[in-house]
C-alpha cells in the first residue's frame, strides 16, 4: 500500500459514515412524518447525492492507489465534497423539523400559490425550515445551486430540483399567523435570486443591474472603481440594499399593509431610536428608508386609502418613520465610522426607482384585492367580533382580504372583544390577551384555509363545466 493511502482510507471511511447517516436520516423522516411537497423533493436530492458521494469515494481511492502523487489532491476533493454536505447539513435538520404539524400550513400553501403566479416563478416551491434562531431568513439558494452544478459534474445523478427555495421560521413561531407574514419578504429574496439567474433574462432585473452599475460609477471615485476588491464590496452593499427594498415591496404587493404591520410589530420590540432608524448598514437600508418605500407603494396601490379609517399605533409609526427626511440617512460601515454617503444618495436616486418598476412588473396588480378587501372587511370583522371563523355562504372572502381585515381588527378591536367575552377584569390580564390573540390567529388561519378550499372547489367546478 503506498505511503499515506492508509490514512486516506481512514478519512474516506469517516466521510462514508457521515454520508450514510444523512441518507438514512432523510429516508426515515419521509417515512415517519408528513411534509409539504418541496421538502420531499429536497430530501430525495440529498439521498441521491449521498449515494453518489459514496460511489465517488470509491473512485477517488482507486485514483490514489494508481497515482500516489495525487494523494493530496484526492484528500482535498474528499474534503470539498464533505464541506458541501456540511452546508446541506445545516438545512436538513430544520427541514425535517418542519413537518405539517409544526408550521402554519395554510399560510405556506397560500404563499406558495401566490408565488407561482409571479412572473417567472411558475412551478417554484418553498422548503420550510424551522430554525433555532429567533429570526426569519431566506437561505440563499443560488450559491447552493452553483455548487450543486459543480458537484453534478462529478455526481451526475444528483440534480438539484429547479426553482426550490428555502425559508426559515423561528421554531417557536411555527404555529403563529400574523408574525409569520414575514415569510413574504423572505420569499422575495427567493424570487430575486431566481430572476437574477433567469434565462432568458428578465428585462426589468437587467434594468436594476444596470442602475446598480450607474450608481457605483457615480458614487465611487476612480481609485475605488479600479480596485476590484473595493468595487466588489461596494457592489455587494448596493445589492444587499436592493434586495431588502425589493423584498419589502414584493411582500406588500402580495399581501398588502398587513406585511408592514407585521414588520413594525417585529422591529417595534427593539424600539425605533433616532440613530438606528436612519442608519444604513452594509447589509440593510435604514428602517426610515424602508418604511418610506412601504408608504409610497401602499399609497400608489390604493391600500392606504382603503385603511384610512383605521386608527392603529402601527399606522402612525409607519407614517412617522416614512416622514424622516432622506438627508438625515447615514451609512455606517462599522459602529462609529461613517461610510460613503454618496452610495446612499445615488442608491435612492438611481436604483430604487428601478426596483419599484421591477416589483410592479412581476407581480399582479393589487387593485382587485383592494376592492375585494373594501367589500369583505365589515363581514370579516363582524364574524371576529362574534368569535367565529370568518365565512360567507356565497362568495367567500379571499385570503388577502381575510388577512388584512383580521390584522386591522387585531390592532384596533382585540381589547373590546376580550372585554365583551371575558369582562373588564379579565381584559387587564396578560394571559387573557395572549389567549385571545391565539384564538384570533387560529380563526384567521382557518378562514384562509376554508377560502382556499372553496377556491379549489370553484376551479374544479369551472373545469367540469368547460369539459362538459
Amino acid at each position: 500500500m503506498p505511503d499515506g493511502l492508509g490514512a486516506l482510507l481512514h478519512d474516506a471511511a469517516v466521510l462514508h459514515r457521515f454520508v450514510d447517516f444523512i441518507e438514512e436520516y432523510c429516508k426515515e423522516q419521509e417515512r415517519s412524518q408528513t411534509y409539504i411537497d418541496a421538502s420531499g423533493l429536497f430530501f430525495r436530492y440529498v439521498e441521491a447525492l449521498a449515494s453518489g458521494i459514496k460511489q465517488e469515494l470509491t473512485k477517488e481511492i482507486t485514483r490514489a492507489s494508481r497515482f500516489p502523487k495525487r494523494l493530496e489532491a484526492v484528500r482535498r476533493n474528499m474534503l470539498t465534497l464533505k464541506y458541501f454536505l456540511r452546508l446541506l447539513h445545516e438545512l436538513i435538520k430544520p427541514a425535517a423539523d418542519a413537518h405539517t404539524l409544526t408550521i402554519p400550513a395554510p399560510l405556506i400553501d397560500l404563499a406558495s400559490q401566490q408565488l407561482q403566479r409571479v412572473d417567472g416563478m411558475k412551478n417554484a416551491q418553498i422548503v420550510i425550515l424551522l430554525a433555532p434562531e429567533f429570526m426569519y431568513f431566506q437561505r440563499p439558494h443560488s450559491e447552493i445551486k452553483v455548487e450543486a452544478r459543480f458537484v453534478a459534474s462529478f455526481i451526475p445523478n444528483a440534480l438539484f430540483p429547479p426553482k426550490l427555495g428555502f425559508i426559515e421560521l423561528p421554531y417557536s413561531q411555527g404555529p403563529n399567523f400574523f408574525t409569520n407574514l414575514a415569510i413574504y419578504h423572505e420569499i422575495g429574496h427567493f424570487v430575486y435570486e431566481e430572476l437574477s439567474h433567469s434565462n432568458p433574462r428578465n428585462c426589468h432585473i437587467t434594468d436594476v443591474e444596470s442602475s446598480t452599475m450607474r450608481c457605483l460609477k457615480r458614487a465611487l471615485n476612480k481609485e475605488a472603481t479600479k480596485d476590484p476588491e473595493s468595487y466588489a464590496f461596494a457592489k455587494k452593499i448596493i445589492e444587499s440594499w436592493t434586495q431588502e427594498i425589493f423584498c419589502d415591496l414584493f411582500a406588500i404587493r402580495l399581501v398588502g399593509p398587513a406585511f408592514s404591520f407585521a414588520l413594525i410589530e417585529m422591529l417595534g420590540m427593539l424600539g425605533f431610536s433616532k440613530k438606528e432608524t436612519i442608519r444604513f448598514s452594509s447589509s440593510h437600508p435604514s428602517s426610515a428608508c424602508r418604511f418610506a418605500e412601504h408608504l409610497n407603494m401602499l399609497r400608489t396601490d390604493s391600500w392606504w386609502e382603503a385603511i384610512a379609517d383605521i386608527k392603529a399605533d402601527q399606522k402612525a409609526i409607519l407614517e412617522n418613520l416614512a416622514g424622516i427626511p432622506r438627508t438625515s440617512y447615514a451609512l455606517y460601515l462599522d459602529d462609529n465610522d461613517l461610510g460613503l454617503h454618496s452610495l446612499v444618495t445615488e442608491f435612492l436616486d438611481i436604483v430604487v426607482p428601478a426596483i419599484r418598476n421591477l416589483v410592479r412588473n412581476i407581480t399582479p396588480s393589487p387593485r382587485p384585492a383592494v376592492n375585494r378587501f373594501k367589500k369583505a372587511r365589515s363581514n370579516i370583522e363582524n364574524c371576529l367580533w362574534c368569535g367565529v371563523v370568518p365565512y360567507a355562504t356565497t362568495n367567500p372572502p379571499d385570503p388577502v382580504s381575510i388577512i388584512n381585515a383580521a390584522f386591522c381588527f387585531y390592532l384596533t378591536s382585540l381589547p373590546a372583544v376580550i372585554d365583551r367575552f371575558e369582562g373588564t377584569e379579565a381584559a387587564r390580564k396578560i394571559e387573557t390577551h395572549s389567549l385571545w390573540t391565539k384564538r384570533l390567529e387560529m380563526w384567521t388561519m382557518k378562514s384562509v384555509e376554508d377560502s382556499q378550499i372553496q377556491e379549489r372547489l370553484k376551479d374544479v367546478g369551472d373545469k367540469y363545466k368547460n369539459d362538459s
Binding site: 464541506y83 445545516e90 431566506q138 440563499p140 462529478f154 472603481t225 476590484p228 464590496f233 461610510g339
Partner: protein
Amino acid sequence: MTPMDFQDRAQYLSLALFSQKVVSALMEYVDENKGKELESSLAEALDSLVHSGRSPASSQKVAAFSSYEQLRTLEEVWSNKDRLKAIRMIRKVMSAPKDPKTKALANELIELFSELQNQALWNFEQPKPVSQKVMTRLCQMA
C-alpha cells in the same frame, strides 16, 4: 434577511468546487490521457480569470471570481504574475493538448488550482471579515 455567514461561506465553497472541477479534469488528462472534461473546464477557468483582471464594472456572468469573497481568495494565493501565467498556460494546454510538453504545463496548473482550492477551503472553514484595506478606502471617501 439572509444569514450572511452562510452566504459568504457558500461563495468560498463554490470556488473550492470550481477549482476541484479544473484540477480533476487536468489530472484525468495528465494521468489517464482522458480529455472529456478538459476543454469545457479550462474554458470556464480562462473566462473567469480573464474577467477577474478586467474592469470590475462589467456585468458578464462567469463561473468564478465575480464575488468579493472569491476575488479576495484569489488575491490571497495568486499574485498578478501568477494570474497572467495561469492564463498563458491554459491557452497553451487548450491549443495543443496532444503535444507531450503540454502535460508539464498541466501539472503546473494543477499546483496553482490546488493552492486556490486549499485557500478556499480554509476560508470556508474560517471566514474572515472584510479586509481593512477595503473598509479604509470606503470610509476615507466619506
